[in-house]
Amino acid sequence: MRAAARSAGLVATTLGLTVWLLSIDPFARVNAVLDAAFAAAPAWTQVSSLVRDPRTQEVSHGEHPAQGLRALAAYWRERPTALKAVLLGNSQMFAMSLAPGEARSREDERTYPDIVAAHFAPRGVLCYRLAAPGLSYSEALWYVDFLLTHPGLRPDVLLVQVNYQAFWNGGVRSSFAELLEDAAFRRQVETRAQSDASYAEDFRGALAEFDRGRGAAAAGNAAAPAAFGRRIEDATRLRLDRLDVFRRRAAEKDSFDEMLYRGRLYLLGIKPSTARSISGPRLIRNQEALDALANACEAAGVKLVVFKAPVNPRVSLYASDADRIRFERYMATLPSSRHLKIVDFEHAVPADLWGRQYNSPDPLHMGRRAHGLVAAHVIVALSESLVSGQ
C-alpha cells in the first residue's frame, strides 16, 4: 500500500511539475537572461504593433495562407476593374527593427508594402503583401502557382523580393500544404513534383507530408485507412487542445528554438549578419524555382518585377568576392532571358537607418525611415510597370 501511495505521489509530482513548466515557459526566461548578459538590443526596437489589414496583407505570414487568400479573392472579385499587384517576399516586408534615434510609436507602424498599398489605393491599384519569414524560392513558386491557378487571384504585376541569403532557404513549409486542398492547385503541384527540376523534390516532399497528415499513408505502407488508433489519437488531441496549458507547447518550442539560436549567436558568434558562401543543392533549387516562377508569370501574362532587397551596409553577407560575383551574374541572367524588370535596391538604405538584431547589426530588417525610403523606390518601379509594357 505504501509503495502504491509513493508511486502515486511520484506520478502526481511529475505531472504537476510538467504542467508548471509548461505554464512558466522556462526557456523564455533563459532567453531574457542571455539577452541581458550579451547586451542585446532592447526588445521594443523589434516593433510588434504593426498595421494589420487582410485586404492588403496575408496577415498570418504563411501560417494559414489559405484563409488569407480566400479573403483576398473575395475582395478582388468585388473590384474587377482595378489593377492588382502582389508583393512577394520574406520578413523584411512585415518586420521593423527601429534604428538608433527612432522612438517607439503609439500607433501601429507601417512597413513599405503598407505604404505602397496606401499610395496606390486611391489610384485604383490594389496591392497585396504575400510574405513569410525565411521564404524560399520554392515557396515563392508555390504561392505564384496558387495565384495563377485562380483567375480571381491573378495579379497584373508581381514584385518579387530577392535576397542573397534567401537562396540558402529550402523546402516548402508544412503550413503551406493547406493550399493543396484546392484541386486545381494540387494538380499544378503534382505536375511540378513530377518534373525533372531540382525544386520538384520540395514539391514532392510537401505533397507527401500533406497526404501523411491526412492519414492516407500513415505509418509507412502498413497503416490502413481503417486504423482506429488514429481516430482515438485525433479525439485525444482534440480534447487536449482545449486545455490552455497544452496549447502553450508551440510557444514554448519557439522559446526553446530561440534559446538554441541565442546560443549560436552569443556563444559561437554565428549571426544572421555572418558572411556566407551559398552553393550546392539549395542554391540550385532556389535558382531553378525562381526561373520557373519567371516562366510561369511570362506564360500567364503577369508583369514581373524582381528587386534586389536592401541590405544593411554595415554587414557583408558575401563570404568572398566570388560569391558576390556569382550572385550578380545569376541576377544578370534573369532580365536577358525573361520579359521582366529587375531593380536593384541593395544599397538603397543608408547604414544609420538600420536597427540591431540581438547584439549585432540587423542585416535584413529596417527602421521606420528606411521603410519609407524603400516604399518610395518601390512606388517608382511599380508605377513604371503598371503604365508600361515593362
Binding site: 509503495a3 502504491a4 509513493r6 508511486s7 505521489g9 511520484l10 506520478v11 509530482t13 511529475t14 504537476g16 511539475l17 510538467t18 508548471w20 513548466l21 509548461l22 540558402w168 532557404n169 529550402g170 523546402g171 531540382s198 523534390e201 516532399g205 507530408e209 501523411r212 497528415g213 500513415a218 505509418a219 509507412g220 505502407n221 502498413a222 497503416a223 490502413a224 481503417a226 486504423a227 482506429f228 488508433g229 482515438i232 489519437e233 479525439a235 485525444t236 488531441r237 487536449l240 497544452f246 507547447r249 508551440a250 514554448e252 518550442k253 526553446f256 549560436r264 559561437l268 554565428i270 558562401s277 551559398i278 552553393s279 550546392g280 543543392p281 539549395r282 542554391l283 540550385i284 533549387r285
Partner: protein, 475 residues
C-alpha cells in the same frame, strides 16, 4: 497507436493502474486482450497474422517435442512456413522484381500479376521470435509451453511491433504476471519510457528533416565531401536515437507491468571494433543471428578461416536483408561483413606476426576511429533511395568533392549537438546514478526524479510531431 502518441501514453497509465489492481490470475488474459487491441489499433486486418504464425510454430514445436525422430523434418517445415509468410508479405515484390530482371536478361518477359499487400507491422520481429522458439524446442532449451503462453509471448504489446527480439525462455517464465508490485518497477519503467520519449521527439525527429534533405536524390551529386559525411553522421544518429527511443519505451512499458525485456543498445558509437559495434547495436537481433545462423554454420566448419569469412559476409547480408527488401540494405550488411572480416584478419595476424602491436594505443585508437568511420559510411546505402545515389555519395566520402558546407549552419550544429549527446550518454547515466545514490530518498523520490521526468516530458511535448513514425516500423 505509436508509443509516442498521447492516446497511447494516457491509455498506458490507465492500463498499468488497472493491471496492478487486478488479481494475478486474470492478468494474463488482460495482457493478451490489450496486446491484440494494440496491434489492431494500427490495422485490424492483420491482427490474425501473428497468431497464425504463432499457431503454426506451436503445432510444429509439439511435433518436434512429441516425435523426436521427426524433429528435424518438423523443424525445417516449421521454419519454412514462417519464412514463407515473411517472404509473402515482405519480400514478394523484391523477389518478383529481381526474378523478372533476371529473366529479362535472357529475353523473357513473363506477365506477372501485381499483388498489393501492405507490410504487416512487426512481421520481421515476430517471425524471428517464432523461429527461435522452434529451434530452442528442437535443442530442448524450451520444453512445456502452452499455446496461450506462446500467444502472449508473441503478442506482448511492448515488443510486438519493433522488438526487442525476445526468446521464449527469457520471457515465458515471466508471463505469470504474479510478481508483487514494487515501486522500483515504476521508476525503472518511467526512466526508460521518458528517456525514449525525449530521444525520439527532441533528437531523432529534429535530425529527420535535415537527413531527408541531404539524402534527396538530386542532392547526391551536388553535396560536398563535408556535406555527405555530415549526412551520414546525421542519419546514423537519427536511426540510433529513433530505434533506441523505441527500445527504451518498449522496455519501460514492459517494466511497468513487471516484465524485464532484454536490452537492445549499449552506446553503439562507443564501439572499439566492428564486432564490438554489433555487441552494442540492435543487440537482440545480433544475438539471434549469432546463435541461430552464424554459430550453427561455423560449428560445421570448426572455425576454418575460409568458411568463417564467407559466413560472416553471408550472415551480415542476411542481417541487411532482414531490414528490408532492397539491395541497399544488402550492401549495408555486406559492408559490415567486410568490416568484421577485416577485424578477424587483423586478429589472426596479431596473434603472431603483429603481436607486439596488439595492445598498442595507436592501434586501439585506429580501430576505434575506423569502426566509427566505417559504420557511419555504411549508413549511406542503408538510407539512399537507390544504389546509384549511394555510390555517388560514397565516392565523395573518399574522393574530395569540395569541403565547403553548403547547407545552413543549423544542420551541422544540430548534428554536432546530437553527436555530443550520443557521446556523453553513458557518462550522463553514471552521473545521474551517482547523484541518486548520494541523495536522501525523499528528495530523490519527490524532487530529483520528478524534476528530471518533468523536463523529459516537457521536451517530448514541445517537440511533438504526430506524423513522424519510428524508422524500424518499416522493417
Amino acid at each position: 497507436m505509436a508509443f509516442n502518441s498521447y492516446s497511447y501514453l494516457i491509455g498506458l497509465a490507465a492500463v498499468v493502474a488497472l493491471f496492478w489492481a487486478l488479481p494475478a490470475r486474470v492478468r494474463r488474459a488482460y495482457v493478451l486482450v490489450l496486446s491484440v487491441a494494440f496491434y489492431a489499433s494500427w490495422d485490424w486486418r492483420y491482427t490474425v497474422l501473428p497468431f497464425a504464425i504463432c499457431l503454426a510454430a506451436f503445432l510444429f514445436a509439439r511435433m518436434i517435442a512429441t516425435r523426436p525422430e521427426q524433429g528435424r523434418r518438423a523443424l525445417t517445415s516449421g521454419i519454412a512456413v514462417v519464412l514463407a509468410a515473411l517472404a509473402a508479405f515482405k519480400y514478394r515484390a523484391f523477389l518478383v522484381d529481381n526474378a523478372a530482371a533476371a529473366l529479362a536478361v535472357f529475353g523473357r518477359h513473363p506477365a506477372i500479376p501485381a499483388v498489393a499487400l501492405a507490410l504487416p507491422l512487426g512481421i520481421s520481429f515476430y517471425s524471428f521470435e517464432a523461429i527461435s522458439f522452434l529451434i530452442d524446442t528442437r535443442q530442448r532449451r524450451v520444453t512445456t509451453v502452452s499455446f496461450t503462453d506462446l500467444a502472449i509471448f508473441v503478442s506482448f504489446w511492448p515488443h510486438l511491433m519493433a522488438g526487442p527480439i525476445v526468446r521464449v525462455r527469457e520471457l515465458v517464465p515471466q508471463l505469470g504476471f504474479d510478481r508483487p508490485f514494487d515501486e522500483r518497477m515504476l521508476t525503472r519503467g518511467l526512466d526508460r519510457l521518458i528517456l525514449g520519449l525525449a530521444q525520439k521527439n527532441l533528437l531523432a525527429n529534429n535530425l529527420a528533416g535535415f537527413v531527408d534533405e541531404t539524402f534527396l536524390p538530386r542532392a547526391a551529386a551536388l553535396n560536398t565531401t563535408v556535406d555527405n559525411w555530415f549526412a551520414a553522421i546525421a542519419f546514423g544518429l537519427q536511426i540510433y536515437f529513433d530505434f533506441a527511443a523505441y527500445s527504451n519505451m518498449a522496455i519501460g512499458a514492459a517494466q511497468l507491468v513487471g516484465i524485464t525485456l532484454p536490452e537492445n543498445f549499449n552506446a553503439p558509437y562507443h564501439a572499439r571494433t566492428p564486432p564490438d559495434f554489433w555487441a552494442r547495436w540492435h543487440m537482440t537481433l545480433s544475438r539471434w543471428i549469432r546463435d541461430y545462423v552464424f554459430f550453427p554454420i561455423n560449428a560445421r566448419f570448426r572455425g576454418a578461416p575460409g568458411p568463417l569469412y564467407a559466413s560472416l559476409l553471408g550472415t551480415m547480408a542476411l542481417v541487411g536483408l532482414w531490414h528490408g527488401a532492397g539491395w541497399g540494405f544488402v550492401v549495408w550488411g555486406v559492408m559490415h561483413g567486410v568490416f568484421l572480416v577485416l577485424y578477424r584478419l587483423w586478429e589472426a595476424a596479431s596473434q603472431d606476426r603483429l603481436a607486439r602491436w596488439r595492445s598498442s594505443a595507436v592501434v586501439v585508437a585506429a580501430w576505434r576511429l575506423f569502426t566509427l568511420a566505417a559504420v557511419t559510411a555504411a549508413w549511406i546505402p542503408f538510407r539512399a533511395a537507390t544504389l546509384g545515389q549511394a555510390a555517388t555519395m560514397m565516392r565523395t566520402l573518399a574522393v574530395p568533392h569540395g569541403f565547403r558546407p553548403t547547407y545552413p549552419v543549423n544542420f551541422y550544429l544540430v548534428t554536432i549537438l546530437a553527436a555530443c549527446v550520443a557521446a556523453l550518454e553513458p557518462f550522463l547515466a553514471q552521473v545521474l546514478s551517482r547523484i541518486e545514490s548520494r541523495t536522501p530518498t525523499v528528495v530523490h523520490w519527490f524532487v530529483l526524479r520528478p524534476a528530471l521526468y518533468a523536463v523529459g516530458l516537457l521536451l517530448f511535448l514541445i517537440f511533438d510531431d504526430r506524423d513522424t513514425q519510428f524508422i524500424y516500423f518499416q522493417f
